[in-house]
Amino acid sequence: MQANKPENFYQNVKDALAQPDLKMIIRRTTDKAEAKRAEAIANFPGFENARKQGQKVKDHTIKYMDHYLAEFEKNALAQGTIIHWASTAEEASKIVLDICRQHEAKKVTRSKSMLGEEIGLSHALDNSGIERVETDLAEHIIQLAGDPPSHIVWPAMHRSREDVIKLFREYHKDPTYSEEIIDLVRSARRDLRTKFLTADIGISGSNFLLADSGSSCTVTNEGNAELTITPPKVHIVTAGIEKLVPSMAHAVPLLRLLTRSATGGEITQYITFHNGPKRQNDADGPEECHIVLVDNGRTKMLADGMEEMLRCIRCGACMNHCVVYKHIGGHAYGSVYPGPMGSVLTPHLNSLEVANKQTHACTLNGRCEEVCPVNIPLPKLLRSLRAQSWDKKYEPLTNRFVVKAFAALAKRPKLFQLVSSCGVIFMRLCSRQGWIKSMPLAGGWTRNRDLIEPESKTFMQQYKAMKKAKSDGA
């Protein structure tokens, strides 16, 4: 499956809505996530306090970002970690590739990292001829299928069991001929195990970077991160600079929020803090550890007043609860990050010019903000991106014209009332039996629904007449 482009959003949406079983496929995952999250939060009376605390941790770190970045660097260096800085996605990818080349790596294992996707690392590795092995089961499935991810937590949610059966039979060395899910998982276990143990380099992302110790933290349910990182000689972490927190104690409230918001579980099975290369006599572990700290638009978000978005801990709750995502799915957004959080992030990672349509694909209903574990005001941020694209004139001309004309009317109440009463007359001309089935200029509405017939006079006309009658009577 070819990755959609963000600038083709209208066409992507059309294609998504035309897919007959897409809604069922999405719902299978999002409905369950929604129900399980609700249950987890009902069982945690301190959730609102945890949210406030989590938000404070992120805001504090963002406020003193330079201080904590320097702290992190100093402590990570002291652990023996090699620190790299990358301003852009290309730079970050190149740094990773250079390390791979230096070590003449033939095979690298990767544990799921959205940042890795963001900086285009998969493509970069593939293009350089290094064997890339995705070890998260979902990433493994979409790697075999050649798909982009469709969700940040369940990247293969768009693939059915039948798809997986086909893919595993085609690509696994010792495939299963059973159609049971457990046997499919075992098939992947067999296939990946030797790869874990024979890789030259393990690449991971990081859920948290701890400033006071220079640690990076991975969070998984499969345990694939530790299996990716421990056997090879070299460990490379790629992480966005917003992953910083002051200390492990500050990561704790965020861990409480993350799992409950993502899957409805209370904690993930594996949380591991990685602190540099193996110590002298350690029984196992990598001999070399690199951390690539990536900006790629994050400082721009800081400068643009979008710092609240840097709180994001990538739980996916906003998309699980988004009425638009639930109907069009992740691929339509044409970005690594779909749904509400993606519509805010993509314009910064890519550009607002190519990704402004997504900011309008939102009813501003506020559900995403309501479920966000760190209180990101996503609707407000989406709206402010609309304001930016309005100022930059990215809006289609017809939209601009209609909105401007409306605003010009609305600021002149007398004229507005006059036009309203003319509108009523016009609408009633188009109406049959109390309903308007179609009307010039209202195709967007009447293509899919009817419009009620208005009363014969506007409120204001009736109200004035009533008042006049009253005063005449008096």
């Binding site: 369940w154 694939n224 421990t230």
Partner: protein, 227 residues
């Protein structure tokens, strides 16, 4: 040249942050106090434990089925461990062989009739490890990497037994984080600190939970009272 590029990017990122966030303060003490203050809120922002006693709360949590794929038992003293291991092996009809973590207090036990050395790179093996800490809040055992703690021992076997000394069971994750902070202060942070709360699981195929995705399918926790 790469070094130079690295420096340039570093500078660029710091400059951009400083330009965007004019509230930057040089007073490190003030920043630290602010950070500490946030931690004070944890008391009201964490879930209730199932019992007042941390070991009891951990046990209840596992027994309630809240820790995926995990069972537990208590033994009064470490001598009883080989018996427990035997019963575990019998329960799953496994051969009398496992990989026992190579630390003195485990090696010194009477393992009569049980092979304690197997290659865990093969699948379907059993592992036994000694946990540094337990955490009641999340049903967690914690291991630290070191000369006698290979991290892979916790990930490669299909069956895993973890021994937690009762006295090392902490109520909350915050309590462990404080200890980790102290370790960091002393400059003794191990390469890995793993918080393990259940078995390797996945829901990636049609949302169905499968245990034993890459690592353990079954986890048994043994709390030792006299340690």
């Amino acid at each position: 040249m790469n070094k130079q590029r690295n420096e340039i990017s570093r500078e660029r990122i710091f400059d951009a942050i400083r330009a965007a966030a004019p509230t930057v303060t040089a007073d490190v003490k003030a920043i630290q106090n602010e950070a500490l203050e946030i931690l004070g809120e944890s008391e009201f922002a964490r879930p209730a434990l199932l019992a007042e006693d941390a070991a009891e709360a951990l046990t209840l949590r596992i027994e309630a089925g809240l820790v995926i794929g995990t069972s537990c038992e208590k033994i009064a003293s470490l001598d009883q461990l080989p018996d427990s291991v035997n019963q575990f092996l019998a329960k799953y009809a496994l051969p009398a062989e496992l990989k026992v973590q190579e630390i003195e207090r485990l090696k010194a036990l009477n393992w009569d009739g049980i092979t304690t050395e197997v290659d865990i790179k093969n699948d379907n093996t059993v592992g036994l490890c000694w946990a540094e800490y337990g955490i009641a809040e999340t049903g967690t055992f914690v291991v630290h990497s070191g000369p006698d703690m290979p991290i892979l021992l916790n990930f490669l076997p299909l069956y895993l037994l973890a021994v937690i000394p009762k006295s090392k069971i902490l109520p909350y994750m915050d309590d462990y984080a404080l200890i980790a902070g102290e370790i960091a202060q002393r400059g003794e942070t191990p390469r890995n600190m793993c918080l393990i709360s259940g078995v390797s699981g996945t829901t990636d195929i049609e949302g169905v939970l499968i245990q034993g995705a890459h690592g353990p399918e079954v986890l048994h926790i043994i709390i030792v009272e006299d340690q």
